[in-house]
């Protein structure tokens, strides 16, 4: 079962991460605190404003397309949230 439980991705996402870091069912959720913060900010903003995840997702799709391939995923997430916040209501 280990291949499935250890989140064995093609890019070896758990390489180099020290043992003892909390994982959920084998998966490290956030690689760095700012990633969790960025996720939490978006979730809180979407919930508080009622803008809806679909609106956020549209910005996320655009941000991923606009940023260079290989840009860390949560950087695109931050970019998307900045655009959503800046967009006219």
């Amino acid at each position: 079962m280990s291949s499935g439980l250890i989140g064995s991705g093609p890019d070896g996402v758990l390489d180099g991460i020290p043992e003892g870091v909390p994982r959920h069912n084998g998966e490290l959720v956030f690689a760095e605190p700012w990633e969790g913060r960025a996720f939490g900010l978006a979730a809180a903003y979407v919930d508080a404003t009622g803008v809806g995840w679909a609106a956020f997702r549209a910005h996320l799709v655009a941000a991923i397309a606009d940023l260079p391939t290989g840009t860390p995923y949560y950087e695109a997430w931050v970019e998307a949230l900045e655009r959503l916040v800046a967009a006219p209501a």
Partner: protein, 196 residues
């Protein structure tokens, strides 16, 4: 988590951007840092693939539940207390001896959070998003999964409103196991479909 920015060294540019964004939203009265803390903690601790594993184990042991899950995924996971953001239109895809399902989001990272938690890094990668559709068998092979040629591989793109999870085949030799004993046999990768 509010002291996450306290580093011995200078914060990185991305850390500064996130902190600035948080300050802006707090100043506007839209969010509080306590709410952000709670969201992060929930996803780090409480929401994850174990939820989905419970759903699968229930479906393996309760034919009536299995039928309800395949008919209306959102309602069926709700029976087990799971639901919320990104779970509003959940469809469970049934693997059979002749069909294997694989889930991807080609445009971004759509994923059924209530049952699988947040997606792994590789699911969000450009390589996976591009290749899962083009060469699914090659992608699965990198996870050690070889699907026989006479099994039909179906790839599902989550980029519409619908979120998918795979209902894997029950492993052979587990007829004597109950639901609780089956839960640990179900992994996130089974429910995405990169493992059969």
């Amino acid at each position: 988590m509010t002291d996450a920015g306290h580093h011995a060294s200078e914060p990185s540019p991305i850390e500064r951007r996130v902190a600035a964004l948080e300050s802006l939203l707090v100043e506007r009265g839209l969010i509080t840092s306590d709410v952000v803390d709670a969201v992060v903690e929930t996803y780090e601790r409480d929401v994850g693939p174990l939820n989905g594993a419970r759903v699968v184990a229930r479906a393996w042991t309760d034919p009536a539940y299995r039928a309800r899950l395949l008919a209306d995924g959102t309602r069926a996971i709700g029976e087990l207390g799971f639901g919320g953001a990104e779970g509003e239109h959940l469809v469970a895809l049934e693997n059979t001896p002749t069909v294997h399902n694989l889930v991807v989001c080609t445009l971004c990272s759509c994923y059924p959070w209530p049952v699988l938690g947040l997606p792994p890094v590789w699911y969000k990668s450009f390589a996976y998003r591009a290749r899962a559709v083009r060469e699914p068998r090659a992608v699965m092979a990198e996870f050690g999964t070889v699907v026989p040629d006479d099994v039909d591989v179906r790839v599902w793109d989550s980029s519409a409103e619908v979120r998918y999870m795979v209902l894997p085949l029950r492993p052979p030799g587990t007829d004597d196991l109950g639901e609780d004993a089956l839960v640990p046999l179900v992994t996130r990768d089974h429910m995405i479909g990169v493992v059969r």
